[in-house]
């Protein structure tokens, strides 16, 4: 197998060259601001060149990368999320003048690069590379919290060991698949003649387990709340959004939308059930907002997997809009937390600290409520329509049991989301002292933009539904035009 087509998607190229430039720049002069600005410019550039190849590169089956509509869509989401997270991280890092942190944005950029590589990958090799670049940069990021260093280090250590285990499992599976088919093409292995039938099954399951770990589906989810809690808030957002989008994009690409192995249904059903119930129940008892969001993101993965499991006419629309809804709402929540944290001294991750926010900071509280309601699937947020679509796919491809689980999960979820809103509405026992309010225009703008996305997406979701999913490995299907 020689002669991979040397095809590199433009965004990937832009981001990697940007990283190299920034690395070189650190040798010149170290500056936090310059580093942030450089990364943002790089990301914006990457966004700009997104349309360059998209959709025109046919999947010949031997290339390392592919750039179809699905990859383009998820890449846009990834880059956009990274931009938002960089915005959140900017002042957070600037706040902490003790150490020079120009590698902070650099690590974010590396993570983004890894995610992009995963999103575009059409080959085990590129997928594996992207996964590890993302993972290792996350280890660095997780330990980046100086205020509570022990927790940060513990989170990083946990992530390191557990993701190492899962990488090993994944690699073992890939190795098996390679052994069966002799190709590193990014599709599930099919049993060849002389191999025992269990081998491809084992390979697929191991790859699946590796992906589930990264997606944090129950029972492989345990690291996520701990790591997110230990990491700085923007890193937690990165974990909750970027890495999940990337791995989900790969999952969709890997299993495609058609030829799923027979055992796939059972395993996925069990995992979805466990994920939704486990995530929601776990979230019920959290007192830390970040942990709660971690648990809720576990549950959301469960909902997404329902759509993934129900092939049908609506599947594509449901997945795309749900990804968008999840990204926008979660980013919004994290942006609000960041905006809040700066003002109130502590990092604002305990739910109790949010008491009475409606009275002290109505704008922030309203935005937070909007985001939470969107996550809970209440109109007018985009989450409402996204959940509607998920249920629609479930009904179209009848999956009664999973729908019941989804219902129960949503009701439990509603409770803890509302609980936060309720907490914000409780009148504070003491009038909160007017603390130093730094003007944070960029965060305000970010929150407003995300709120608008959530609301407009909820009111006019028609533009966001497109069949973007990759064709089920074979001749490329005719695809809709994507609206930039």
């Amino acid at each position: 197998m020689t002669g991979h087509d040397v095809f590199l998607p433009m965004p990937l190229m832009v981001v990697s060259s940007g990283i190299m430039v920034m690395l070189a720049a650190t040798t010149w002069r170290r500056s936090v601001e310059r580093s942030f600005v450089g990364s943002m410019v790089t990301l914006v550039l990457a966004l700009a060149v997104m349309g360059y190849h998209t959709g025109r590169m046919p999947d010949t089956g031997s290339s390392l990368f592919i750039q179809d509509w699905w990859a383009g869509y998820t890449a846009i989401l990834t880059i956009f999320s990274s931009l938002c997270i960089l915005l959140m991280a900017w002042r957070d890092a600037g706040h902490d003048r003790t150490t020079l942190v120009d590698e902070y944005p650099l690590l974010f950029m590396l993570g983004t690069l890894g995610a992009l590589a995963m999103v575009f990958s059409a080959n085990y090799m590129s997928f594996f590379l992207g996964l590890e670049i993302l993972g290792i940069s996350l280890m660095g990021l997780a330990a980046f919290r100086h205020r509570s260093f022990m927790q940060g280090c513990e989170a990083a250590m946990k992530y390191l060991i557990l993701s190492g285990v899962s990488s090993a499992i994944l690699l073992f599976g890939i190795g098996l698949a390679y052994g069966i088919t002799g190709s590193l093409r990014f599709i599930p292995p099919i049993a060849a003649g002389d191999m025992p039938a269990a081998l491809p099954v084992a390979a697929t399951v191991m790859i699946l387990v590796g992906m589930f770990f990264k997606l944090s589906a129950v029972p492989f989810h345990m690291w996520l709340p701990d790591v997110m809690e230990g990491a700085p808030v923007p890193v937690a957002a990165f974990l909750a959004v970027v890495s999940k989008i990337a791995i989900f994009a790969s999952l969709v690409r890997y299993f495609g939308t058609g030829n799923q192995p027979p055992f796939f249904d059972d395993i996925l059903s069990v995992v979805i059930t466990l994920t939704i119930l486990g995530g929601n129940l776990l979230a019920l008892r959290q007192t830390s907002l970040i942990r709660l969001l971690a648990c809720s993101s576990i549950a959301h993965v469960g909902y997404l997997l329902i759509a993934f499991l129900c092939p049908g006419r609506l599947q594509s629309g449901a997945i795309t809009i749900y990804l968008l809804a999840y990204t926008a709402s979660t980013l919004g929540v994290f942006a609000t937390i960041t905006a809040f944290a700066i003002h109130e001294g502590p990092d604002g991750t305990a739910i109790m600290q949010w008491k009475g926010l409606f009275f002290s900071r109505p704008f922030l509280a309203s935005a937070m409520s909007l985001m939470l309601l969107s996550l809970a699937g209440i109109p007018p947020g985009i989450g409402f329509f996204a959940k509607f679509e998920i249920v629609a796919t479930g009904v179209e491809y009848p999956r009664g049991l999973l729908l019941c689980v989804l219902m129960i999960g949503s009701i439990i979820g509603l409770y803890y989301y509302l609980n936060i809103i309720r907490m914000m509405m409780t009148a504070p026992s003491l009038p909160s002292p007017r603390q130093n309010r730094h003007a944070r225009p960029e965060l305000t703008v970010l929150v407003i933009v995300l709120s608008m996305i959530v609301v407009i997406g909820g009111l006019l979701p028609a533009r966001a539904i497109h069949s973007l999913l990759p064709a089920p490995a074979g001749p490329p299907a005719v695809q809709d035009r994507m609206v930039p």
Binding site: F149, E154, I161, A168, F172, G175, Y178, G230
Partner: protein
């Protein structure tokens, strides 16, 4: 002349993998856990080598190299973290004591 068939390689790799996994599960010392992790990664690498030999394909070797690099990086980061923890006054290597984050 292949000394081992692919299946034999697989058996060995599986055994190695199990040893690594068991090491992670039973050892509490973080350094040992990192070593077990390396064993697991190497087991996966062995599969690639075996499969590459089976198909007479160089891609397996490429993957092997990549996995080696990964193992090295993981160990490096892990050791760096352990050193950092030491520097911040937590001399123990016991992984079970690190459960500040839970619940």
């Amino acid at each position: 002349m292949p000394a081992f068939s692919f299946n034999d390689t697989l058996l060995l790799a599986t055994a190695l993998f199990s040893v690594g996994l068991a090491g992670i599960l039973v050892r509490r010392n973080m350094v040992f856990m990192l070593m077990s992790l390396d064993i697991m990664l190497n087991a996966a690498a062995l599969v690639f080598v075996g499969a590459g030999a089976r198909w007479h394909d160089a891609t397996g070797q490429v993957m092997f190299l990549l996995i080696l690099a990964l193992a090295a990086v993981e160990t490096a980061v892990g050791l760096a973290l352990i050193v950092c923890l030491h520097a911040h006054g937590r001399p123990t290597l016991d992984a079970d004591t690190g459960n500040l984050l839970k619940g």
